[in-house]
């Protein structure tokens, strides 16, 4: 029996100790009419070797296409040491550190993580993670409503340059709680928030303004001006950031005169493989004054009976297992194992390493844009400074191009034509440090072929 150690003798001994005639008798409190008749949809058991063969066949079917897609999930090199340690049973198969004395490894690691994320984002405190970047933004919106007691509107302002999925998820998560979202347009040609539409809200009761930096298009927003405007107009500021970009860019804690109030994002670029979208982890940092409104686990350093340093879950009075219906959130588990990966990743690379990865990614994206915009009819949608993503406009339908690229084993980017129809045949592309110059050429050659082919066919 897979994973069940009992011998026939032991089963008999155990039943005798219980005083039950059979294992089936242990279920005698369940009404007989409810008992399962059959499980027709479950196939026969496979051995480890057989299931391995099946999974390898499934994996091979998908292959390993050359990837130029980002849009919130980024392919970076992960040092071999990261997952060798993450998958150690002591991390992999432990649970939430309720018994602090038996969980000092996880707890100390989380404390180190909180320290690193606070410094990276320029904020005072961090929680021990949330589910992912999108749900972290939803939690940040709810937190802003709790933290900003003077604002009665529960109205959140978001630019349309925010990752559209982050907005969808936020809407779904806060649905029952009377929050409203005001979406502001971007400036065409620039791909950044149209500031005048923000200024038009002057005098209105706004709970928070959300800024994504770099934004969904990969462009850089004027974060100082937006932050200062929001604060001058009594709104909190929620920053959504790619943590890797903070190796190069000004941390949200330093935006404007006062810095932002809450920072969230997806930690995936730090040691977490693409893996079809998860598990990733969401991070959240904030000012000390808001720490009691922050959702999720928080680890504190303290001392034991002998005065020795130790780590423990703290501020638990915010949480569901204590506060029940009055908790700050229903969140219970977070993404501890992925935080483990990120903490090891940050430690291995250090600030200098992350800076180098960010700079190389930016450089490879610039090179890619240069190569692709040489193709007749392909142009950049927006001017201005950008990180490692860009929006291209193609002379032909993006869907067709992406399908043709997929046939050549290239994942060419994200089709924006449904999300932003006003941009026409728009394609969001990304290159990280993992794309070599030869990879960029492969993409450019394929795209040239395909675009020229389609243009000629349409003629």
């Amino acid at each position: 029996m897979p994973f069940i150690p009992h011998t026939e003798t032991e089963i008999s001994e155990m039943l005798a100790a219980i005083g039950a005639p059979s294992i089936d008798a242990l279920f005698d409190e369940i009404p007989a009419a409810l008992r399962i008749k059959s499980l027709a949809a479950i196939p026969d058991a496979l051995s480890e070797m057989e299931v391995g063969r099946l999974m390898q066949a499934r994996a091979s079917q998908d292959g390993r296409p050359l990837n130029f897609l980002g849009a919130g999930a980024y392919e970076h090199h992960i040092p071999a040491a990261v997952w060798a340690i993450v998958t150690r049973g002591e991390f992999y198969s432990a649970y939430t550190p309720y018994q602090a004395e038996a969980s000092q490894g996880t707890l100390q690691l989380l404390y180190e993580y909180q320290s690193m994320m606070s410094s990276l984002t320029g904020m005072e405190v961090s929680n021990a993670s949330l589910y992912d970047g999108a749900s972290a933004l939803a939690e940040a919106c709810l937190m802003a409503v709790r933290a900003h007691r003077k604002s009665k509107s529960a109205r959140i302002v978001v630019p349309s340059t925010l990752n559209p999925t982050y907005l969808s998820v936020s809407r779904a998560v806060v649905e029952g709680q009377n929050l409203s979202f005001t979406v502001l347009p971007y400036e065409s040609g620039k791909g950044t928030l149209q500031f005048s539409t923000l200024e038009a809200l002057k005098g209105e009761d706004l709970t928070a303004v959300v800024i994504q930096q770099p934004n969904f298009f990969g462009q850089m927003e004027d974060v100082d001006a937006i932050t200062d405007w929001a604060h001058a107009n009594n709104a909190l500021v929620i920053a959504v950031v790619n943590p890797l970009s903070l190796a190069l860019f000004k941390p949200p804690g330093e935006w404007g005169t006062k810095g932002v109030d809450i920072v969230v994002g997806d930690g995936q670029p730090f040691g977490v493989p693409l893996s079809s979208g998860g598990p990733y982890f969401g991070f959240m940092t904030t000012r000390m004054e808001h720490v009691r409104q922050m959702p999720g686990r928080i680890i504190g350093r303290t001392v034991d009976l002998d005065g020795k340093q130790g780590f423990t879950l703290t501020l638990q009075a915010r949480e569901q297992h204590i506060r029940r219906s009055k908790a700050t959130s229903n969140i219970c588990t977070n993404q501890g194992l992925l935080v483990t990966a990120a903490t090891i990743h940050m430690s291995l690379l250090g600030a200098a390493g992350l800076e180098s990865v960010a700079a190389t990614s930016q450089r490879q994206t610039s090179k890619l844009i240069e190569k692709l915009t040489r193709i007749p009819g392909v142009k950049l949608a927006f001017d201005g400074y950008r990180f490692h993503e860009a929006v291209l406009q193609l002379p032909v339908k993006v869907r067709e191009v992406l399908d043709a690229l997929a046939e050549r084993n290239i994942v060419g980017g994200l089709d924006l034509s449904n999300l932003y129809p006003e941009l026409g045949n728009a394609l969001l592309v990304c290159a990280t440090e993992t794309r070599t110059d030869a990879d960029l050429d492969t993409y450019a050659i394929a795209l040239t072929d395909i675009v020229t082919g389609v243009v000629e066919r349409n003629r």
Binding site: L26, I30, D62, R88, T165, L338
Partner: protein
């Protein structure tokens, strides 16, 4: 387990040191002044070996399933098969971008589609969505669907969610998060729901009821069919909290009991790792009435072709709960686990978790410990209460729990459920061998003897772990949440 403390990683840091081999060299960014970071983040500067050694040593300060018996009630700490991890981490799966076209995703989508089908079958539901990223998010999805159902019928007054007093804290917290009010009902002394109290709570405002069955008291709700009829007749829906699904897997299905919606903790019942507090995975299953509201995306099949289903296919969906497809890698692990158990293995999960729990209960009762529900069968878990020891010896449930750590056993869940005083909620799971259970009983017997002879010894435990009991009050009052926040190090 190691008992030697490890300094914070920042203590190993030296300016200019780094694991140079781990990152590309040569690129420098030209960042305009207004965007430029002025001072590098205070990340550690260590060599690869120092990082590896540091985190390996930290790992050795943990109890885990791989190293210790971990009978944490309500958490189902069963063995996490290594094969599940290995096959979910094949390079093709790890490298797949979540938004890659369906044409290069058929292998992955096939696994998810089949997982949906298998989960439908074991729960007796009509549809499954795999996107919720944890149990609490699955609960959220469930209650949000109940709300959406009533709204779609223009039955707008239904905003009350009934929750038994024994429920997990996430249940009332979830109801609040969904904009509902919580109506709590008591349990009877025998652990069953108080049907009269339920009748009193039901009415035109009832949106639904959230139940765990077997309940958190470790016993099966025997009148579940009657409960289901009452709730349905009142116009409400039934939500099944899958925290305790391990107890009934392959034996009885929530759908057959009358539940309209269920969340499953794949990290419990389907053996994906707990990872020191996540990732979890809280897939939801629904009956016919809630099918139109399932969170997206789900996986559909047209002929031989798998594809994502989104707003266009499920226009009344409660929406997206994650940026992509939930905790996809966790789903692959659960898929491998279910394929390895197969049809004939499903019911063994409930059988052997019940055998282990009832054996442990029988032995502890015989050894003189007090079961909270001595007349009832244990499900996959059970409660003993240390009320007598606390009163007579001054040694409480937490003292027993901490002393167990010295004996090499992770403590059971303590002080939950809240309505049983001085309780230990014990869940051995099906993957533990008899001698491990016997060792645990022997340890509790030994601690009982210690408590009778030298209460202070038990109250001072643990002694053999990296730290002794921690000052939680200080942790909350003198907040020290990041390196450098308090002390001058």
């Amino acid at each position: 387990m190691s008992h030697i403390s490890e300094p914070l990683i920042f203590k190993h840091s030296r300016t200019g040191r780094s694991a140079v081999g781990q990152y590309p060299q040569g690129a420098t960014a030209q960042v305009p002044e207004k965007f430029r970071r002025r001072k590098r983040a205070a990340l550690p500067e260590v060599s690869e070996l120092q990082a590896v050694r540091h985190f390996t040593r930290l790992s050795q300060l943990n109890f885990s399933i791989d190293t210790h018996f971990y009978p944490l009630g309500s958490c189902t700490m069963k063995y996490n098969p290594r094969a599940c991890n290995a096959f979910a981490m094949l390079p093709e799966f790890l490298g797949r971008h979540p938004l890659a076209p369906d044409s290069v995703s058929q292998g992955f989508l096939a696994c998810l589609y089949e997982l949906q089908e298998m989960l439908k079958d074991v729960t007796g539901m009509k549809g499954v969505s795999l996107t919720p990223m944890a149990g609490a998010q699955g609960e959220f999805a469930g209650v949000a669907m109940i709300r959406a159902y009533h709204k779609a019928r223009n039955d707008l007054e239904r905003t009350e969610i009934i929750v038994p007093d024994a429920a997990h804290g996430t249940n009332p917290a979830t109801a609040t998060m969904c904009g509902c009010t919580v109506v709590e009902i008591p349990s009877l002394p025998n652990g069953d729901i108080d049907i009269d109290a339920l009748k009193g709570a039901l009415g035109p405002k009832t949106a639904g009821i959230m139940l765990t069955n077997p309940s958190t008291l470790g016993v099966f709700e025997r009148r579940i069919q009657e409960v289901a009829k009452l709730v349905h007749d009142a116009g409400g829906l039934l939500y099944y909290d899958g925290a305790n699904l391990n107890a009934i897997l392959g034996k009885v299905r929530p759908g057959d009991m009358g539940f309209d919606v269920i969340h499953m903790n794949l990290h419990k019942t389907f053996s994906t790792p707990h990872g020191g507090g996540g990732p979890g995975s809280g897939a939801v299953g629904v009956g016919q009435r809630l099918l139109p509201f399932l969170p997206i995306p789900t996986v559909g099949k047209d002929g031989d072709n798998y594809r994502w289903l989104d707003e266009k296919d499920v226009p009344q969906t409660i929406g997206r709960l994650s940026a992509f497809m939930g905790n996809a890698g966790v789903l692959l692990r659960a898929y491998v686990y279910m394929r390895m158990l197969g049809r004939e293995g499903m019911h063994r999960v409930a059988e052997f978790s019940a055998l282990n729990a009832n054996y442990l209960l029988a032995r502890l009762k015989k050894a003189g410990f007090d079961a909270a529900y001595p007349e009832r069968r244990a499900s996959h878990e059970f409660i003993i209460t240390m009320k007598r020891q606390a009163k007579e010896l001054g040694v409480n449930a937490m003292d027993f729990a901490k002393r167990l750590l010295d004996y090499g056993y992770h403590a059971p869940t303590t002080y939950f459920p809240l309505l049983v005083p001085e309780c230990l909620l014990i869940e051995p799971t099906e993957t533990e061998a008899k001698e491990e259970l016997d060792g645990f009983v022997d340890a509790l017997i030994a601690i009982q003897a210690e408590a009778e002879q030298d209460a202070a010894k038990v109250k001072g435990a643990p002694y053999t772990l990296p730290v002794r009991r921690l000052d939680d009050v200080r942790a909350a009052k003198q907040l020290d949440l990041t390196y450098g926040m308090r002390s001058t190090e």
